[in-house]
């Protein structure tokens, strides 16, 4: 079968690629596009390690077909920091040790940012339910939840 041509925007830059109709967006990101920040923990939408933003909505890129990127805007973990300047969530995760092995971290950060964009003042319960789709086996979530709450407070203070 002929490959499909897809034109899209990734982290603010125009991007084009060829793919098979059945390729997942995660495969394309990690393969041809060389953006390996999104991880494959399951490939079935259950772990959130592959989280990206599609037109401002949080999605599992393993469940998205690559051709669906046509004409859309994609944001990945690689676009979260501004050059050397980390996003406040990234900075807080480091300061509060909200990661151990770090394999879940790109997905958790993408999901946390999506939460704070919608809800700058979440309760602990709201954070926990929002992040329920992002598995972390190392931390027991404690430091992740604290880091998200703390970042939210700081960002509100700064705003």
């Amino acid at each position: 079968m002929a490959k499909m041509h897809v034109a899209t925007t990734i982290n603010g830059e125009p991007e084009e690629f060829l793919c098979e109709p059945h390729d997942s967006m995660l495969d394309l990101l990690r393969g041809a596009l060389g953006l390996t920040g999104a991880k494959e923990g399951c490939g079935t939408g259950d772990c959130g390690a592959c989280s990206i933003m599609l037109d401002g909505r949080l999605v599992c890129s393993c469940l998205m077909l690559a051709p669906e990127a046509e004409g859309r805007k994609i944001d990945t973990i690689e676009g979260m920091a501004q050059g050397e300047t980390l996003h406040p969530l990234q900075q807080k995760f480091l300061e509060m040790a909200a990661l151990q092995c770090g394999i879940c971290t790109p997905g958790v950060l993408m999901a946390s940012r999506a939460l704070l964009e919608r809800n700058p003042d979440p309760t602990e319960t709201e954070v926990r339910f929002w992040l329920a789709g992002n598995l972390c086996r190392c931390t027991g979530y404690d430091k992740i939840v604290r880091a998200v709450l703390e970042t939210a407070a700081e960002m509100r203070g700064a705003a």
């Binding site: 991880k39 390690a49 509060m96 092995c101 770090g102 598995l135 086996r137």
Partner: protein, 744 residues
């Protein structure tokens, strides 16, 4: 012991590998690719138990895009009658786990592997391999496997003179249990079951291997690059000197990555094809064919006198090994009663094979199983005596000088401190409501030292580069940087820490056994001390005074007192700049088989609430108290405690494998194999108690594994307290809870 001014040790520094991990730059094994790389895929057994009659790979080999096919005949054969040990692993079993030889022993057992131009072609070609099986009856559960008429997995195994699925037995004895029970006023005996649970690391196994001119380079997700090199060498026949194993960043292991699966297969495929070969498991493959830890069946009997003194304890622990021998019976039988000073102990472990995937280590392997049974019975003993369960533990707690049934006499330990801290903590006094309950449990783990290597180099611009040999999963680089900065008296940011590969650093044992910081801090400390000695010598040379007359203080060489002469202090930068003139590059390495990793103890307190309509048990509060020796980087010590507690809660409440009648795992996905998610848990409080290990320069004790020992019983005791009814089987999942409640 070193004098430590505590500027960096104990401080919550930002880990050196942190920025890479929050930006997505960090390179895990599956993130790596190579020019010309092709893909490998494994064909797995569709049967739980079958003899392999024949394998025909010709159609697969002829498939367009296929480059090579391997089966067991391509790896080194280890005859069944001769054990070849590598650490605790027997290569007879390891080789047969990597590729099935005579028989397939579980659903998902690797039978062959294909390398092809794409992962899809490799998967298609796997389907073209024709395997003729003679299907045999299978057995999954322990109680079935040890019956006299059970299907026998291995005809070379026998127990008490008869063919058996019992592959081994281990016994610890202290005193005389019968005499002990005779003195007891209260004796309680109970039977328990736990299910196998998976380590659940989020990163699937993965390997990328290139073989050029007979020399292999392996990037894989592993807890030990030297283990990867040694096992791959044994299975492929390539000498260790021709294998370079590179530790990629690792996305969790918890013990499950202390053995190999893909590495030798990818190596042989790469050798056959002359191209780099990448293999990545799917989650389904991870769940079917890697890990888990054992399921178990145990009986524990404990006797105590009226005043609460435990006089005898007896335990029998049957552990599932999976399809090939080697379950962690030592952890179950050895750790169950180790926290207590009990004069009469008899503890026995049985290793049982059945048609499940071969178990792999999981955080304090075996110990949570032993502790679950022992600590639940202790709870009932406390109840029968009308004693507070922590007071009972305190009264019987092992202390310095206590002789444990598994052998050692304990040195300075902080177990009592963990219980006292728990009793004094506000958590223990928080009022409970209806259908709420509180449980406590303690636990012990051996901890390990072992081989470790380090190199500490001063860069020409006066900074520090440290290389160690244990893969860093949870922040060990940060801790090593803290220690090096402390010893040298310089800013933490001036120390970079790298994990070397097998060609760039000396042999270092696995990241396992809670050894990493204990062992690597020891060799890094000694290396740094050598470097400091050299720095003083160089300063002496510059000043033309005796090296003995120079001291190293606050990152500078200074004359030691008035008599040494008056010279302006020389910084690391000053001395590094003159290194060539004063004798050459400055650096030192130490390689050692480290000793003195003393055991670790913890006490956990858990509050739950039970929803009687839905059968859901919710953890309301959880506090861990642990003797951590010295918290070199407190955040990552807390992280170990919290992560272990969460895994234990999962083990207790929701995780288990479900098998269908054909012996196939029915829930091989994250959705159906239910690990705790963020909304399942409360904050997990971690109280670190520092009773420094006198045998370690910084007082370090292993901290990574003990956290998984007490939670099973802590949760179970909390549920019992909430319902007034006891469960003797895990997980206490909603259907089971409803069953017990309905049986009321």
């Amino acid at each position: 012991m070193n004098v430590i001014n505590n500027k960096w040790i104990g401080s919550r520094t930002i880990r050196p590998d942190g920025a890479d991990k929050v930006t997505g730059r960090a390179s895990y094994s599956a993130d790596t690719s190579m020019p010309g790389m092709i893909w490998g895929k494994v064909l797995r057994s569709p049967h739980a138990h079958a003899r392999i009659v024949s394998i025909d790979t010709s159609r697969a080999e002829a498939h367009p895009g296929v480059k090579a096919v391997v089966t067991a005949k391509d790896i080194v054969e280890f005859p069944l009658d001769k054990s070849v040990m590598l650490g605790i692993q027997d290569m007879r079993w390891m080789s047969r786990n990597v590729l099935a030889r005579e028989k397939v022993l579980f659903h998902g057992h690797p039978v062959a592997a294909v390398a092809a131009m794409s992962e899809r072609i490799a998967a298609e070609a796997c389907k073209l391999i024709e395997v003729v099986y003679e299907v045999l009856p299978h057995v999954i559960e322990i109680e079935e496997a040890i019956k006299p008429d059970a299907p026998i997995l291995h005809d070379f195994l026998s127990f008490e003179g008869k063919p058996s699925n019992i592959a081994g037995k281990l016994e610890h004895k202290l005193g005389d249990v019968e005499a002990g029970f005779a003195k007891a006023d209260v004796v309680i005996e109970r039977h328990f079951k736990t299910r196998p649970v998976h380590q659940g690391y989020i990163e699937p196994h993965s390997a990328l291997v290139s073989v050029v001119d007979g020399k292999a380079v392996i990037w894989s997700s592993s807890q030990g690059q030297f283990m990867v090199r040694a096992m791959t060498s044994l299975l492929t026949g390539i000498p260790q000197s021709d294998i370079r194993a590179i530790p990629a960043e690792i996305g969790g292991g918890f013990g499950g990555k202390t053995i190999i699966y893909l590495e030798p297969v990818a190596t042989i495929l790469a050798k056959k094809t002359g191209r780099p070969v990448k293999m990545v498991m799917t989650r389904d493959e991870v769940m079917r064919a890697t890990g888990p830890t054992s399921g178990s069946m145990s009986t524990v009997k404990i006797g105590a006198t009226k005043d609460g003194k435990i006089v005898a304890a007896q335990g029998t622990f049957y552990l599932q090994a999976g399809a090939l021998p080697g379950s962690p019976i030592r952890g179950a039988a050895g750790c169950a009663f180790a926290p207590y000073d009990i004069p009469n102990v008899h503890s026995t472990g049985f290793d049982v094979v059945s048609n499940r995937s071969k178990v792999a280590a999981y955080r304090a392997p075996g110990a949570p199983i032993g502790a679950y049974a022992a600590e639940c019975v202790l709870d009932e003993v406390a109840e029968a005596l009308g004693m507070d369960p922590l007071e009972l533990r305190l009264k019987n707690a092992a202390r310095q000088g206590t002789k444990a049934a598994h052998g050692p006499v304990f040195p300075v330990i902080g177990f009592v401190d963990t219980i006292e801290a728990a009793i004094a903590h506000p958590h223990y006094k928080t009022p409970l409501g209806k259908l709420q309950g509180r449980g406590v449990a303690s636990g012990f783990w051996f901890n390990a030292g072992g081989e470790s290597s380090a190199q500490v180099n001063i860069t020409e611009d006066g900074n520090v580069a440290v290389t160690t040999g244990h893969p860093d999963i949870g922040g060990s680089r940060a801790s090593i940087a803290n220690i090096t900065a402390e010893l040298l008296g310089i800013d933490y940011k001036r120390v970079s820490v790298l994990i070397g590969d097998t060609a760039t650093i000396g042999y270092s044992n696995l990241t396992g056994g809670s050894r990493v910081l204990f062992a690597s801090a020891m060799v890094v400390t000694q290396s740094t001390e050598k470097v400091i000695k050299t720095l003083c010598e160089r300063a002496a040379k510059i000043w033309k005074i005796d090296p003995e007359a120079v001291v190293w203080e606050d990152g500078e060489a200074k004359p030691a007192g008035e008599n040494a002469g008056k010279f302006p202090a020389l910084s690391l930068v000053d001395i590094a700049a003159k290194a060539s003139e004063t004798g050459g590059p400055i650096g030192a390495g130490v390689q050692q088989n480290t000793q003195g990793a003393e055991g670790g103890f913890a006490t956990h307190v858990c509050d739950v609430e039970v929803d009687p309509e839905l059968g859901i048990v919710r953890v309301l509060r959880y506090t861990s108290f642990q003797d951590v020796g010295r918290a070199v980087h407190p955040s990552y010590v807390e992280g170990q405690m919290q992560g272990g507690a969460a895994q234990g809660i999962g083990w207790a409440l929701s995780e288990e494998y479900l098998y269908d009648k054909n012996g196939k795992v029915d829930n091989a996905s994250f959705l159906d194999y239910r690990m705790p998610v963020c909304s399942d848990l409360p904050m997990l409080d971690a109280v670190m108690i520092e009773v420094p290990n006198p045998k370690h320069p910084q007082g370090v004790r292993g901290v990574g594994e003990v956290p998984l020992v007490p939670p099973l019983a802590a949760v179970a005791n909390a549920v019992a307290n909430a319902l007034g009814k006891r469960f003797y089987s895990l997980p206490m999942s909603p259907p089971r809870v409803l069953e017990v409640l309905d049986g009321a």
